[in-house]
Symmetry: C2
Subunit: 404 residues, 2 copies
């Protein structure tokens, strides 16, 4: 059994680095929003501009405030949703208002009330459909709002509906342009980068967790050690909703240099899914480690050798995970993918031989269960890592990673 | 070893029931929003009302559209956020505008620009602080919006700032009242109910999953069976963000009859956390079951007896989970909590004796690992269920469940 050396644990330093990076990004975003707000306020502050746009400038301000989100993709998505919602809602609202004006009298009011009710209910129902909710929720809200405002104000006698709609739309467009320019062209914070980095960091975090367990297992028991690895697994397990929203935003960032057009974000979600399954296994594995840690101190020499074999094999899993994570980070093709999978198969077989029935007889009752499960779960982890290698390989093909 | 009989699997029926209930709730919500919109549109449609409120009625419509959320708590929370954000933003905006007017000239514009920048940046930074983001995100957005609109429009010469602010606030209040009345007093959809039911159903779902595994394990292998239990565990694992948002909304529903004031929602989140850890264990357990299922068909009689013992013990875990879930559902105290915990301890000890080292010798190499891990993981599940019993017990004390 070959032993791959494990380098010192870089987890804490990395996580601190990530955290301070995120703090800086928060500052940058805050400053950017401040700048966008000042720019859009110029519509009011500068008299020549105000003479042009008038009170409708408030729609520009509203747009900037509402669509300025942290990630570039979120801003773009919300902005487009707002634009399309306004156009569709405004258009339908104008038609309904003109039709209502042509009826006149009490029929006018009844028609308006009915159309408000029908469009409001149907749009609200659409908002509850998961697929629409994920990508177009804000657009539907804006549609409802615009339709309502236009139909009720436009149906009042003497109001020029089309002019009102056109001016508001122009102002929303101005707000949109200002927010998008500041958000996308000045230090843009891409959701695609965040998703990519977050998936990559999970490979390393889980690798570190396994390594930490292996190292602790071979030492004697230390009390009161903080259970950091446990929290890492749990944060990975709880990553689904964040992944999904980031992927949603990333899809609005189609031209973003590093990732190109129609980048396979769906595959990232699939990889995240497999990583979460892996994390669940590692969580169970940790309980085995903890249980077997208690007994290793009292183990005699020949049994310790068996545990050390487990560790040696475990370190190969750690190495594979890091390798796959690195290849994803640098966006290059993993060398010898089939080779890696073959190696994992061998690893699995070796594991199944570490503790054979004949050897298990030497163990006492309480010792046997955790150590046998440790071996079994390590085998399952190996299988899951194999699945991960295949998924990442497929991503590398789909996204056209370079071969070094 | 006592064997507790297992009733037929009620999972599918229950889940269908829950789904159609949810569909009806969606319809109810859509109709309610339609009604609120018609009510608020009356401000425009009825001439006497329009003469009173004028163009400012659009703020009432906007409020209704934006705060009408699915759950009562969400609507109340958003409404209060909107109200407070408007008052604070409007108040500060008025002060800044009046001060700017008193400066006059170029200083006026510079002062406005600076204050827009500072308030915008600081508020945006606050929005990125997790605690504020969770509960007050919308309030901060409305604060930014109102402050900006008031300061820029109010600073224009000849504008009566206070009057503008007062009228808009009154209109927002009208929208708020309409939305709240329809949302809270007509078939209210409480987030607290949803959170409570969703946590309770997880007890049953996980119990069904364990039961399904136990039953399948004792049968011979069936190919191509849909892996439903697997998806149940995964949906439980991914429940964190939904739980958190529901708890957030539930906190805005303080007077809701069934749950009373300052109900311990935080404890629900803790219970959800433990359930997720349990689900991770069960996910690993399922892999053991699958591995051992393959070999049980070829097992000889004396070994089968051992597996059947495991199943008998497993069925007690199922029973305990159901019992705890039922006591939570009916909001009554679990009878004999200490008794239950003692029983679980006994169960754990019995499990550790099911497969002793001497018995394991009879197994062949490939058989031993999955079966030993199955027993070990069942022991871990028992421990986690014990943790759950304690947490639920604490909830029952905190929330003052009745003793039957």
């Amino acid at each position: 059994l070959s032993f791959v050396p494990i380098t010192s644990n870089p987890k804490d330093k990395n996580n601190k680095q990530i955290k301070s990076d995120h703090d800086i990004k928060k500052m940058v975003h805050s400053i950017k929003v401040g700048i966008s707000l000042v720019l859009v306020s110029l519509l009011y502050i500068l008299n020549p501009l105000f003479d042009q746009v008038g009170e409708n400038a408030m729609w520009a301000i509203m747009t900037v405030v509402v669509i300025s989100e942290f990630n570039a993709g979120a801003t773009l998505g919300k902005g487009l949703n707002r634009g399309i919602g306004t156009i569709v809602g405004g258009g339908l609202g104008c038609l309904a208002a003109i039709f209502a004006q042509s009826i006149g009298g009490v029929g006018n009011s009844i028609f308006i009330g009915t159309s408000v009710y029908i469009f409001g209910s149907v749009a609200t129902y659409f908002r509850l459909v998961p697929k629409i909710k994920n990508r177009y929720d804000y657009g539907v809200v804006v549609f409802m709002l615009t339709f309502n405002l236009v139909v009720v104000s436009g149906a009042r006698p003497g109001v020029k509906v089309w002019e009102l709609a056109r001016e508001r739309l122009l102002n929303i467009l101005m707000g949109f342009i200002i927010a998008i320019c500041v958000n996308l062209f000045v230090f843009p914070l891409w959701a695609s980068d965040e998703l990519h980095d977050s998936i990559v960091s999970r490979f390393h975090n889980l690798a570190n967790t396994i390594q930490g367990c292996l190292e602790e297992c071979s030492k004697t028991v230390k009390e009161n050690q903080p259970d950091t690895s446990f929290t890492v697994c749990k944060s990975v397990l709880n990553s689904k909703s964040k992944d999904e929203s980031l992927a949603n935003f990333a899809k609005w960032e189609p031209w973003h240099g590093k990732f190109g057009f129609s980048y396979p974000w769906q595959k990232y979600l699939k990889i995240g899914e497999v990583i979460r399954e892996l994390a669940a296994l590692i969580l169970a594995l940790e309980r085995c480690f903890q249980a077997s840690k208690k007994i290793t101190a009292s183990l005699k020499q020949p049994k310790k050798v068996q545990l050390e074999q487990c560790e040696a094999i475990g370190s190969r899993i750690v190495w594979t995970l890091r390798e796959v994570g690195d290849s994803m980070k640098q966006m290059r093709k993993c060398e010898g993918r089939d080779n890696t999978i073959d190696k994992l198969k061998t690893t699995r077989e070796e594991l199944s031989l570490v503790i054979s029935t004949s050897m298990i007889e030497e163990f006492e009752n309480g010792e046997m269960l955790p150590i046998a499960s440790l071996v079994f779960l390590l085998m399952e982890v190996v299988e899951k890592v194999g699945e991960l290698v295949i998924e990442v390989g497929e991503l590398q093909d789909m996204a056209g990673f370079r071969t070094r």
